[in-house]
């Protein structure tokens, strides 16, 4: 047993909360990636429609 490993308990629930927050942030990045791609697509469409 690793002496540094903490038992599950109050510290563990705080830990779980931090992991949830980190994962939520990472999921948000996927949405932001799609938003950035959408911006590229929008510029491409505007260029095709109005600046040929």
């Amino acid at each position: 047993v690793n002496p540094g490993r903490h038992a599950r308990g109050r510290g563990a629930s705080e830990f779980d909360r931090e992991i949830r927050i980190a994962l939520r942030y990472e999921r948000g990045l996927a949405v932001k990636a799609l938003a950035a791609l959408a911006l590229v697509a929008l510029i491409a469409v505007l260029r095709t429609l109005y600046f040929r």
């Binding site: 690793n2 540094g4 490993r5 903490h6 830990f15 931090e18 990045l29 996927a30 990636a33 938003a35």
Partner: protein, 512 residues
């Protein structure tokens, strides 16, 4: 004979077209790396984490760091980490300033937690200094994990424990953190670096997490298990200028994982002048040349147990490593095609720059969203990262008609002609620009110490872009390595102007 000559000419022209388009590879690779960031929520290491607080030794190599070392130790002592499970070892590399006094004073302030290790014969480089500390730390079995950092690096309170949670998984050998540029008030160059770190670390290393292979543990924040250090021979490699990268590669070659923890934030002071930046990046670039040659048997050879031979990883590595070559060959190919009258040269140019344009919009907008705080501080540098001239070429290649009337007015005013298409002088200028930008970046460094340098250098950097400075450095590193120039460890000077977020949410100067 005529037909054969024609065929040969056509083949040559198409080879040149390929050379032009190949210059878009680094942009495509960068886009792929950013797309991988979007997959980090699926492929990460968080589900294998556990609350874990091993006995941690912090190893700080220090040479004349009196301005910064005291504050760094104070911040380490204030980490949210169990009492008695954290020790700091400062290896003083024969400092000639007040570093020994500052560290000794902190040793008295934090008894049994801060240790001063003195090397009387210094100046051999960071790796030798680290090895002196490693020898002492590994001599007893107290240390379970080792955090290697720099004297100016300031850790946010929860940075260490967010890193150690990954080491609860025995398969992980090392963890690195997100280093942010923290100079305050800073200047245009430190803000360029701040934005660069969003792209290279917050984004780039997340992408590498998704691949399962990390290129380099940040020198200022690398956390190793004892087992990993012992497996590496209980010492850091001293044969190259890229000891961090070699440690990272060797860890993964031994079958251990390396993880980037983007939510562990540390702050560091980065160069505020082009000459200092050049010195630092030349050392890094020469180190990369050495690593590329040393691990030549690995590239593009997928293997079990590590991802260093993976195709994506190899493409990322070589696109950065060869970017100056791509820029020069692209310019040369465009000019050759233009002067030999090849009809499709304009099309090749368009394809190259439209890829550049799409990459620029995608990466810039995404990077500003990945780290919004840095984005708010560095948005001007994000926009001008490729340089004002490149931005104009991007807009010109996407929307040529916006420019053509104005260009003809200039053309007529200069008496150069009244043609309908883009004038020759303009075409030659933009075709040659990628190579010219490297020379102008070098000029920005050369003129910086002169009387007008303080004004002229920033103007030149905004014109050619920060990326061109890095590419010029990489090119200089080829030359130095080919010449077999002496590999010296040039330490980056630190002044202690790092500021870190406080509990109130504002920024306070960490050291002065």
């Amino acid at each position: 004979v005529t037909s054969a000559a024609h065929d040969a000419r056509l083949t040559g022209d198409w080879l040149l077209i390929i050379l032009v388009i190949v210059a878009a590879l680094p942009e495509l690779a960068a886009s792929w790396q950013f797309l991988l960031v979007g997959g980090h929520f699926r492929r990460h290491h968080y589900l294998d984490c556990q609350p874990y607080f091993p006995r941690a030794a912090v190893l700080i190599p220090a040479w004349n760091e009196a301005a910064v070392i005291g504050t760094s130790i104070d911040r380490l002592m204030a980490l949210t980490y169990p009492d008695g499970a954290l020790r700091v070892y400062v290896v003083d590399d024969a400092s000639t300033d007040a570093t020994p006094e500052v560290v000794t004073e902190r040793g008295a302030q934090y008894p049994g937690r801060v240790f001063h290790l003195r090397r009387e014969q210094g100046g051999q480089g960071k790796a030798h200094t680290l090895n002196h500390g490693l020898e002492v730390i590994l001599a007893d079995d107290w240390m379970q994990v080792l955090l290697i950092t720099d004297a100016d690096v300031i850790f946010e309170p929860d940075a260490l424990r967010t890193m150690t949670r990954h080491l609860a998984d025995d398969r992980v050998g090392a963890v690195t953190a997100y280093i942010k540029e923290g100079s305050r008030p800073g200047n245009y160059l430190t803000r360029f670096i701040g934005y660069e770190y969003v792209t290279a670390q917050a984004a780039g290393r997340r992408g590498q997490n998704v691949l399962g292979t990390i290129a380099c543990l940040a020198g200022g924040a690398q956390l190793h298990t004892r087992a990993n250090l012992v497996a590496l021979g209980s010492r850091i490699d001293t044969s190259s200028l890229a000891e961090d990268t070699i440690t990272t590669f060797e860890t993964q070659l031994a079958g251990r994982r390396v993880v980037f923890e983007p939510h562990a934030t540390v702050w560091a002071e980065e160069p505020g002048s082009i000459r200092a930046l050049w010195k630092q990046r030349l050392r890094w670039a020469r180190g990369n040349v050495q690593v590329t040659a040393r691990y030549r048997h690995l590239w593009f050879r997928p293997a079990r147990g590590h991802g260093l031979g993976g195709i994506s990883f190899g493409v990322f590595w070589f696109c950065l490593f060869l970017q100056p070559v791509f820029m020069i060959t692209s310019s040369a190919a465009l000019l050759t095609l233009y002067f030999t009258g090849f009809g499709r040269v304009w099309l090749a140019f368009h394809v190259l720059w439209i890829i550049n344009a799409a990459t620029y919009v995608f990466i810039t907008s995404f990077a500003l969203m990945i780290d919004p705080a840095t984005g708010r501080r560095c948005w001007r540098q994000a926009i001008f990262f490729p340089g004002a001239v490149n931005l104009v070429i991007i807009i010109y290649s996407c929307f040529p008609r916006l420019f053509i009337d104005g260009v003809h007015r200039v053309d007529r005013a200069l008496g150069l002609g009244t043609g309908h298409g883009a004038p020759g002088w303009l075409i030659v200028s933009i075709y040659a620009w990628l190579t010219v930008s490297l020379a102008v970046a070098y000029l920005a460094k050369a003129v910086e110490p002169s009387r007008f340098g303080r004004l002229l250098s920033p103007v030149l950097i905004y014109l050619v872009g920060y990326g061109s400075v890095l590419c010029a450095c990489t090119f200089a590193s080829y030359v130095l390595e080919l010449r077999g120039a002496e590999a010296r460890w040039d330490k980056t000077e630190k002044t202690g102007k790092v500021a870190v977020p406080t509990d109130r949410g504002d920024l306070s100067v960490g050291a002065k």
